[in-house]
Subunit: 453 residues, 2 copies
């Protein structure tokens, strides 16, 4: 038997490709070496959100306490939380397995590798299985990467996988890398009372974001008494006498109970047998064309193709590929604007083009903005620092970013507005609910626009 | 001097009409007898949201405690909260006054009434002022209404204005009227530990909502040990020996520290001199045509025109009228779909047509739905009861409703989707962020549709 589609990897990209293809009536096999759900479910987005959700009362109480409206104490039992996370993940994996079964997708547990055109070998617990495919999707994802000499040791120097698997929360934490992964985990540690230090080689936190967003985040972290060390290069990370010791290029040393290394993630392509079908790997990633195709009948979706490292982008690609293989769509893959979100409190959202990306644009670019302090919902949650900024290109909304309380809720409407390229004239076409944090987006859209020089 | 526009009432409808008109360069006067911001700011939406925001840690802690993940106690100081509310409202009114001044809007504090065509008299502290207008907007809003014999006495029987002005939160509360106003205030009392009783003449709570939403709410309230008495008629409300006593038609009596009467609101039209310009009032409301016009050059926006009692609907009407009077738009007023939201935990959102409204529709109607329990953000907040339901008419999204944790965040995207009449084909046009509660809307949109009989 030849499968219409074999998918390697059951993360958001692979799982959605497999289930959507089966929904179209294709005969599908899904190969996963580790756990259904991939990094996002098992070692990434989802456990982090469960941590943030479980500790949100700590943050809410803190904000109201500062206004002397509330008092008291919220104690989160980390061991109980970890048990809850494990239970939730197991339940979700079980539901995913049931969904596969219902859809008639054959799940193969083991390491899958290409073995020449049309063939996949799965190294399973009970031996090697050989499968035949008409179409193949590679969705093997990514894993943490390290600079030489800065590898985690699993003792006091941890990567994000190890951090999420901890049995106790450290009393002090150094986070190397001020991107979204590091900052979300640092926020959780902060809520548990840890003294947090953040170190980054760049000169600002969240260096992929609008510089004003970085500035707002830094201001909040400083109020939390975080030690934020920017433009600092790390020379070494070691466990010494049960403590994590970070050594700067300058020789300066920092010590904490744990060090989290969150400097980035790289595609998983080792040992996949890509050479057996003539696929070359550059910088570990599988290069794809505008159809997400890497070779005849072979596609790559998600982190492994290096286009963008976000679960929803992978899933979106997976859905497109399923439709394409099933003959339900033609034309190249179009992502539309891809939103990204930092969760917690503050949150950050971004979609489309940013002010610092358009200074050489041939279009007439403007920005408009609104402060969260003017919004009653931010006021209600005693968390008013932050703003919403809109980037306009030739009179159309080209990008939106925001930082502050609950701004993740602006993401979907902003993505729709950017995808549709709204003009000022479109603002009246949709009624925003009052009161709502969403109105801060409306206020930013309505605000006076200033040209970007 | 003749004003281009005089606006009676500085609530969301009137204030937005006045400021938008001034923004268009018109000479505008705004007349307000009480406080800038009207009911919404001073005695409605905003103070309630500040109460809900200040107490949200109580709810979050409660949910995590049930899972034995968190313990502790959050105590909210009601007097401090009330002081904070007063300060916030004063600050907002001040900001509004500054905005009016900046825009050159003349503010007249006093009771404004029509005195023949083109003339308004304002009864101010320093005497009666006569103003001339070319165009007039009546935005005098609404106030609580009572059934005969069920009026508040200001002692233990309160309307929503009085309830919001309390100095202490009662230990027991009876809410008469299970609409959004009563339910939001009851939720706050519940968080403060009050024993809550809800009485309604209808056979379900939130009777304007989808019946399944009412059922989900009732189930949650019952878990909170609320005494919910439905299909019960109230014969009397009285203060007896420092307690509120409710007497049913049946003779049965209920007693609590306070009784909140929240059975509805009615337009404010008394004494406005409407007869001097030939405007007739039916059921206290000012009837308007498709241009929101009540008489030549006289318009009515917001609660007073009886179209819909929602602050954002009033503001939307106000913006339209300003544009129309300024000659920036023509054609009749179109609201588009009007969203409504119950805040708190659970929340309810609704926009467009509901399943129980379409059973006689000539279109082919279907519903699709998703359960919040499948959403990781609902799981993260340990609040998984609820659902999202989509109503389709001839293959296009015609309505969305949801109940449960944080579903207010679905409101703006759902309003956009209903306004644009999305088909299943449009779903791929926008990437939803993962993980997010927003994905429960996407899941409902993607779910199998079943015909409505």
């Amino acid at each position: 038997m030849t499968y219409d589609l074999i998918v390697l990897g059951a993360g958001p990209g692979g799982f959605d490709a497999a289930t959507a293809a089966a929904g179209y009536g294709l005969k599908v096999a899904l190969v996963e070496k580790r756990s259904l759900g991939g990094t996002c479910l098992n070692r990434g987005c989802i456990p982090t959100k469960l941590w943030l959700g479980a500790t949100s009362a700590i943050d809410e109480l803190h904000n109201q306490s500062k206004l002397k409206i509330a008092s008291g104490e919220v104690v989160v039992d980390f061991a109980a939380l970890q048990a809850r996370v494990a239970k939730h993940l197991a339940g979700t994996r079980k539901a995913m397995a049931m969904q596969l079964e219902k859809l008639g997708v054959d799940l193969f547990e083991g390491f899958g590798r290409l073995a020449g055109e049309g063939t996949v070998e799965v190294e399973a617990a009970d031996g090697i299985k050989t499968l035949k495919y008409a179409n193949l999707v590679i969705a093997t994802g990514s894993k943490p990467i390290y600079f030489p000499g800065l590898e985690p040791d699993g003792d006091c120097v941890l990567d994000s996988d190890m951090f999420l698997a901890m049995e106790t929360m450290p009393a002090s934490l150094i986070v190397v890398g001020a991107g979204f992964i590091g900052l979300e985990m640092a926020q959780v540690a902060h809520r548990f009372g840890a003294q947090v230090t953040v170190v980054d080689a760049m000169d600002r936190v969240a260096p992929l974001e609008d510089p004003e967003v970085s500035k707002a985040l830094l201001s909040i972290f400083k109020r939390w008494k975080w030690d934020v060390q920017l433009a600092k290069r790390v020379a070494g990370l070691r466990t010494v006498d049960g403590k994590g010791v970070l050594t700067m290029d300058s020789g300066e040393k920092l010590t904490a109970d744990k060090i989290l290394v969150a400097v980035g993630r790289g595609p998983v392509t080792e040992g996949l047998g890509l050479d057996t079908v003539g696929i070359e790997v550059a910088m570990r990633r599988i290069e794809v064309d505008e159809n997400l195709q890497a070779a005849p009948n072979i596609y790559a979706v998600g982190d492994v193709n290096g286009l963008i490292q976000l679960a929803h982008a992978a899933a979106h690609q997976g859905h497109h590929l399923a439709a394409a293989v099933a003959g339900k769509t033609d034309g190249p893959y179009e992502s539309g604007p891809v939103p990204s979100v930092l969760y917690g409190a503050p949150e950050v959202m971004r979609v489309g083009r940013m002010e610092n990306e358009i200074f050489l644009s041939p279009e007439r670019c403007e920005v408009s903005r609104a402060q969260l302090a003017a919004n009653p919902m931010a006021q209600a949650h005693a968390s008013t620092q932050g703003f919403v900024k809109v980037v306009w290109a030739d009179g159309r909304v080209a990008g939106v970013t925001a930082v502050g309380h609950d701004v993740s809720r602006l993401t979907t409407p902003a993505t729709m507005i950017v995808a549709q390229g709204w003009t000022g004239h479109d603002l009246h076409s949709v009624m925003f609910p009052h009161p709502s944090l969403d109105e801060s987006l409306l206020a930013a859209l309505r605000a006076e626009r200033t040209p970007v020089e």
